[in-house]
Symmetry: C2
Subunit: 156 residues, 2 copies
DNA sequence: TACGATTAAATCGTGTACGATATATAAAAC
DNA sequence: GTTTTATATATCGTACACGATTTAATCGTA
């Protein structure tokens, strides 16, 4: 392997990686108390969002949209099925494909989830312009989210 | 729970969350082939970095630096101990505290890891100025990382 | 049309991550 | 000085997340 240790940007790059890593955890902790009320995890919530926008997606489509492998999605979808929110059926035209459909209960959950995006937006507390800039410093964002996350947890 | 669904930033906020979430995965996939050569995971690598900069840290200090809980760190540190890279000892002055020290092997790994930051910096491909702006769009960053990650995996 | 190659999911093993809880030690309060 | 409180790790159960591999179905092409 080549050596790039002399690159002066090397430490900054690693700081950025850690910022993303820890910001991800912070977001997860922010979502958790909201999604607990829906008995969903964050990845499950993402799957439900996709289904609410378009029903009958294949496992592959979820993988492309969420950048996840079938080894992650298959167990996740089975858990959503066990919760009674979705059904999984082999495609009649192509038996390799598994298509996911919302149940009554899955449709009904949509109303309950309507609050979530607004709560997140409020917790993040950014204007549309700033969102487009994607948070000038992820570290500051992470800290703010952590505080908001704790506040949300307190009032729940 | 209050309703904020009318907030026009709500969808943007959720997009940002997903950007961070998926960028985190992308970084992980970028690091994996590099860290495989060291037989480390990314969180284990972070712990080693902290130890290389200052030995004898407590579990709590790792938790504060990495924003992780003891329920995450304890098993992780036990695995590093099982690999022979670190030792865990109760602090003599305060028996509640567990302090972590590098072994010979742990010290030696530092040299092997010297390449990693430069490889990451190169893969991300940003100047110092841009790093300070923290990637104007995390989605673009994620895509670039994914490509670089695949390239790295090919040549390994 | 047969058969090798490709594709879509599923399975398996390992390693995070967390909240809730437990345990042991130390500090504080009385 | 004992009892309460706080602190530092550890344990447990659940759920991602991945790479490697497997299985089954479809496609390509000779």
């Amino acid at each position: 392997m080549e050596r790039f240790a002399a690159d002066p940007n090397a430490p900054l790059a690693e700081f950025l990686c850690f910022s993303v890593y820890s910001a991800g955890h912070a977001f997860n902790r922010l979502y958790r108390p909201l999604l607990d009320e829906l008995a969903l995890t964050y990845p499950q919530y993402l799957v439900m969002q996709l289904l609410w926008s378009k029903d009958g997606r294949s496992v592959k489509e979820f993988g492309q949209a969420l950048r996840l492998e079938s080894s992650t999605l298959t167990p996740l979808l089975k858990r959503l099925q066990a919760s009674g929110l979705i059904e999984r059926k082999r495609d009649a035209d192509d038996e390799r494909v598994v298509r996911v459909h919302l149940t009554e209960k899955g449709h009904a959950l949509r109303g309950q989830a309507a609050d979530v995006p607004g709560c997140i937006a409020k917790a993040i507390g950014l204007e549309s312009d700033e969102l487009a800039k994607l948070a000038r410093t992820l570290d500051n964002l992470r800290d703010r989210i952590t505080v908001e996350s704790e506040n949300l947890a307190d009032t729940t």
